[in-house]
Each structure stands twice: as structure tokens, then as C-alpha cells.
């Protein structure tokens, strides 16, 4: 007990000189948190207890919700963009689906022409277009990863 008090006396001296390390200050705080602190050190016990209590203070639980709410609109934008892209693609889908029917419409002078003669070339162009779209979508979704 006496050895401990001697150790604390040395640490306190260093503490007032601002020469203690973070670890030594933790040791002091732990000592003053425990039982058996002599009455002459009661003020110091209160001081360490004051710091410890201050370290427990937190903002209101609602703050986190408010912060998330402030940040969320960006997510909405991304999801809105993604949703808009999907809606657009779905909206265009019937055009592709109905396209063959148009070929059969008997109208003189209306001729369906291919963009590409070579099927390999057409496939490469489609793949390139899809790659570009998916790259842009990934870029848009990046912030929510």
C-alpha cells in the first residue's frame, strides 16, 4: 500500500509538471477510481473523476439520425438514377419486342435495313454499348459501396 502511494506521489509530481505519459495518466486515473485514496488526495480523486465523467458525455441519440438524413439524399440520387435507367430500359423494351412486327407491315417502300452486315461486328458493337452503360452505372453507384 505504502509502495503504491509512493509510486502515485512520484506520478502526481510528474503529472503537475506535464511530464507524465498517457499510460502513466491512465495509471493515475485507475488509482483514483479505486478504494483507499487517502483523505489528503480527495481533491485529486474528484479531479480525475471529473475528467472521467466528462468523457462519458454524448450527444443526443437523435443526432445520428439527423446526420444520416442529411447524407441520404445523395443515395436517393444514385438510386433514382439507377431506377430511372431501369425504367428507361424497360420502357424501350417493347420497342425492341415489337420491332419484328414492323418488318411485316405491308407498306410499299418501307424496307428494314441492317446496321451491320457482319454479325460478329454487330455483336461487338452491342457488347461495347452495354459495357459503356454498365461502367457508367457502376460509377454512379460507387459512393454507396
Amino acid at each position: 500500500m505504502k509502495a503504491k502511494q509512493e509510486r502515485i506521489t512520484v506520478l502526481l509530481e510528474k503529472y503537475w509538471q506535464a511530464e507524465t505519459t498517457v499510460e502513466e495518466e491512465k495509471e493515475l486515473a485507475e488509482y483514483f477510481r479505486g478504494p483507499g485514496v487517502p483523505p489528503e488526495w480527495e481533491s485529486y480523486r474528484e479531479l480525475f473523476s471529473f475528467f472521467e465523467e466528462k468523457a462519458q458525455i454524448k450527444p443526443s441519440p437523435e443526432l445520428e439520425g439527423r446526420i444520416m438524413e442529411s447524407i441520404r439524399p445523395r443515395h436517393h440520387m444514385v438510386w433514382w438514377a439507377a431506377a430511372a435507367a431501369i425504367v428507361l430500359m424497360l420502357g424501350l423494351e417493347p420497342l425492341f419486342r415489337h420491332a419484328p412486327e414492323r418488318v411485316h407491315v405491308e407498306q410499299p417502300g418501307l424496307v428494314m435495313t441492317d446496321t451491320y452486315d457482319d454479325p460478329e461486328q454487330a455483336l461487338a458493337a452491342v457488347q461495347k454499348a452495354l459495357f459503356t452503360v454498365s461502367k457508367k452505372m457502376n460509377k454512379g453507384l460507387h459512393p454507396i459501396k
Binding site: V22, S43, P59, L63
Partner: protein, 155 residues
Amino acid sequence: MKDKLYRLAFRLLQNVQEAEDVVQETMIRIWTKREEWGRWQSLEAYCMISARNSCLDRLRKQKLRSVQESKARDVSSPDKDPQEKIMEKEAMIQIRKCMDELPQHQQLVIHLREIEGFTYNEIAEVLDMSLEQVKINLFRARNAIRKSIIKEASS
């Protein structure tokens, strides 16, 4: 992170709502700069610096307001943190009063050291001080509080 920011903001502003507003602003600012996170040495230090600057801006604006308005923000202000009100006993009130009366840089140094457990290097970074200045301010702050509590105990 938000708790540390809040405690720092509250130390400077002494107002629950304003401290929370600063935390919110800081977190949003950090979020908008998320592309830069990788380039920052310490996200925590950056956030603390940002929050401190916001508080100092607010304090500067407050100074421009009327003296009466600033007087309304004394220690008995109804905006005091309710958690603080509950926990405070006589000795605690004396220590807090003494801390509130310290010069601002001493308040911040002692807050970051005693309450957040920051190293001298971290304090120097957040407060833009040299290590020597950190030590001197901590020395002065601790000794001012020591004098105050010893005086209180002997009276």
C-alpha cells in the same frame, strides 16, 4: 468519432444545440470529401480540426452580437447539457468553473489530453501548436486547476 467531436464542440460553445449542429456540419463536410479520405494522414485529426474551426467561426460571429445576448450564455444557461447538470456535485462545479475560466487554448489542450486521452503529437496537430506549446499550456492549465481545488478544499 461523433462523441469526441461533440465534446470538443460543447467545450468551446457551451451549448447543446450548437455543439450538435457543429457535429452534423462536420460529418456532412467529411462525407462530401470522402474521395479525399485516402490522402489524409488521420481522419480523426481532420474531423477534430474541422469541428474546432466551425466552433471558432461560430464564436467569432457570437462576439459580433450584442453583449446582452452573449451574457445570456453564462454557466447557468438552460442550454447546459442535461447530463452535466445531473452529474455535477459541488467539487465538480468548482473544477468546471475553473476550466471554463482558463484561456481557450489551455481549455482545449487539457480537454484533448484529459478527456480524450490524445498524445502531445495529436494535440499539436489538432490545435496547430508546437509540442512545446502543448506542454506549456497543459502545465499551466493543470496547475491553475490544482490551485483552485486546493484553495476550495482548504476553505
